[in-house]
Amino acid sequence: MKRKRIVSNAVKNGLLALYALFALFPLFWMVLISFKSDAQMFNTTFIFNPTLENYDAVLLRTDYFKYFIDSIIVSVIAVLISVLAGVPAAYALARYDFKKKENLAFTILSFRFAPEILVVLPLFMIYQKIGLYDTYFGLIWVYQLITMPLLIWVIRGYFEDISVEIEHAAQVDGYSWWQVFLKRLLPLIKPGLVSASLLAFIFAWNNFTFPLMLSGTYVETITVASLKYIASDTVHYGQMAVAATVSALPAVIFALLIQKHLVRGLSFGAVKG
């Protein structure tokens, strides 16, 4: 019996290791490429002369940090606005009964259905007309299509899980409505809020279509800027790898920071007991 368990454990771990290799290999490959010079790009695999040339080229000799900051500004503010508007909206959808409530909730979700490419062209025309083209606000606004539905739907589930008597109890205890919300409800939805915000941030950060079409000179996000390393004569794979590696960092760092909330946070609200 004991031997059987050892074998089964070994097989399990072996399979997991195989999967980890499969999942992480592209990332590993990307990091590897980022240290290769253009000359060694195609004729070496693992053994090469590592160089920081690409990092130097991308981080110090281009506007990479400006793009990075642009991405941060647009994504973070987009998520913040979604939180400020989405949490009350989720509360209303969870607590109040009003006409066409489910239709409204579904409409909000449906913003995520249409491919972005479908709406981006008319948006481009409209943005040019009303002066939102190539502005922070324009991008932040259009990002609400991505971040808001996600937040509302996750947080709504959380509010629905909190029994309404808890709010009543807090009111009877002597708290005003705002204090009830801040002191009693907010701590209860925090795991959902944190994880949904992170996911919304990642989606906003990764977005390519909207910044490609709706910005470009004054505001430029990192996803779009990464294309610059494809020159007309040659493709600087090493520099692209650097750009991609560095741009992946914020999401990874945030995810690590709030790891404990992440899986539980996203599934808890959705699955009702």
């Binding site: 008597e165 009543h168 109890a169 009111q171 009877v172 205890d173 002597g174 005003s176 204090q179 209860l188």
Partner: protein, 388 residues
């Protein structure tokens, strides 16, 4: 400590009317029980007193002051919710301390500490103070919820079925505990329940409520001995009261009721005044109520008793319910637990006509009772109240 008045309160939810023109006056320091079946509107009434819901019509008054426009926080009420409504992210200690930390009823830390420990000891949950609500049993959660109310000094305690979710043993224990606390409460309490035993053992007065209307308000004796209609009679008492059809029968100036079988006559006791009540009511068709604990039976044939067959026998703890089938009627009565009976065996039933409650067969309303002792007690009670 307040007198609570509910005046002409009507509460609607869309087209559904949950409370219909409710009028109640709850005295200062009274333990007032709202008793009724599920869906009667008990919780709604409590929520309206607490201010969680606002009535469409009518007034809620505390000590004469109109409360309709005052939010729950400023009414200074303490409420125990049926589903506990504990804050899952806070410890038992913080849950109980919550009202004392709120901006309105803020106390200093030393007072909070002292008060929390006082009620925790009273409720015997002082060893659980550091736990989270998810780490304690339902009975303990219930006591934490009660503790969160007791820690305060409110106008009124509102308790919504605080014992409903407990197992039988714990419920019994908590009932006696609550009763003990009631004497030390020294404050007004409105207590909602659908359990008859809780209602009669705790309530100074009981309001029976059904389908959004108050059916009867009275002491436990009043609702037990003089229920205002068959609904109240059936609700108050376990096992349920037996209701049999009866007809007034006059022979040679003597009054009888004919019941169960044609020709089976029970002589009405002359002295109790029930005869006059029946005659005055000008009703001749009755439903007559007999409490199961008053009915006598024997297995030997005896004159004047009516014959039936044993239909069922079930134990309810320290006693049993014997069900006899007489004609088409089933008569429930209390029997000792160790009684040896066989199904379909003959049984002779004596209906206690001197302890009967008479209802109008048409309207089901109360006409009178032949229970002299009960009437005497009730009158005494009224008189002593009048003296106060």
């Amino acid at each position: 400590m307040a007198k609570i008045e509910v005046v002409n309160v009507t509460k609607r939810f869309g087209k559904f009317t949950a409370l219909k023109n409710i009028n109640l006056e709850i005295k200062d320091n009274e333990f007032f029980v709202l008793f009724g079946p599920a869906g009667a509107g008990k919780t709604t009434l409590l929520n309206n007193v607490a201010g969680i819901q606002i009535p469409e019509e009518g007034l809620i008054r505390f000590n004469g002051e109109i409360m309709n426009r005052i939010d729950p926080a400023h009414r200074n009420v303490a409420m125990v919710f049926e589903n506990y409504a504990l804050y899952p992210n806070l410890t038992v200690y913080e849950n109980i301390a919550s009202p004392l930390r709120s901006p309105l009823y803020k106390k200093d830390n030393a007072t909070i500490n002292r008060e929390v420990h006082r009620v925790a000891e009273l409720l015997r949950i002082d060893h659980l103070l550091e736990r989270l609500p998810s780490q304690i049993s339902n009975g303990q959660k219930q006591r934490v919820a009660i503790g969160r109310a007791l820690v305060r000094d409110p106008n009124v305690f509102l308790m919504d079925e605080p014992l409903a979710h407990l197992d039988a043993k714990l419920r019994h224990y908590m009932r006696s505990e609550l009763k003990e606390m009631q004497s030390s409460f020294n404050t007004t309490c409105i207590y909602v329940t659908h359990d008859f035993l809780e209602a009669v053992s705790l309530g100074d007065r009981i309001a029976i409520i059904n389908e959004g209307s108050i059916i009867q308000v009275g002491t436990r004796e009043e609702v037990y001995y003089t229920p205002c209609n068959e609904f109240v009679a059936a609700l108050v008492g376990e096992p349920e009261i037996n209701l049999v059809d009866g007809r007034l029968f006059v022979d040679n100036g003597k009054y009888y009721v004919e019941t169960l079988e044609k020709g089976y006559l029970l002589p009405l006791p002359e002295s109790s005044g029930i005869v006059r009540k029946l005659v005055d009511s000008e009703v001749t068709e009755y439903h007559i109520g007999f409490r199961p604990n008053n009915i006598k039976y024997t297995f030997e044939k005896k004159d004047g008793l009516i014959r039936g067959t044993v239909y069922g026998f079930e134990s309810i703890g320290n006693k049993a319910v014997l069900i006899a089938k007489v004609g088409e009627k089933y008569i429930r009565m209390i029997a000792p637990n160790d009684l040896k009976v066989k199904l379909d065996q003959a049984v002779y039933v004596e209906l206690p006509i001197h302890k009967a409650i008479f209802f109008d067969a048409q309207t089901t309303n109360f006409i009178g009772t032949s229970d002299e002792a009960a009437i005497y007690r009730l009158v005494q009670e009224q008189l002593s109240k009048g003296v106060q």
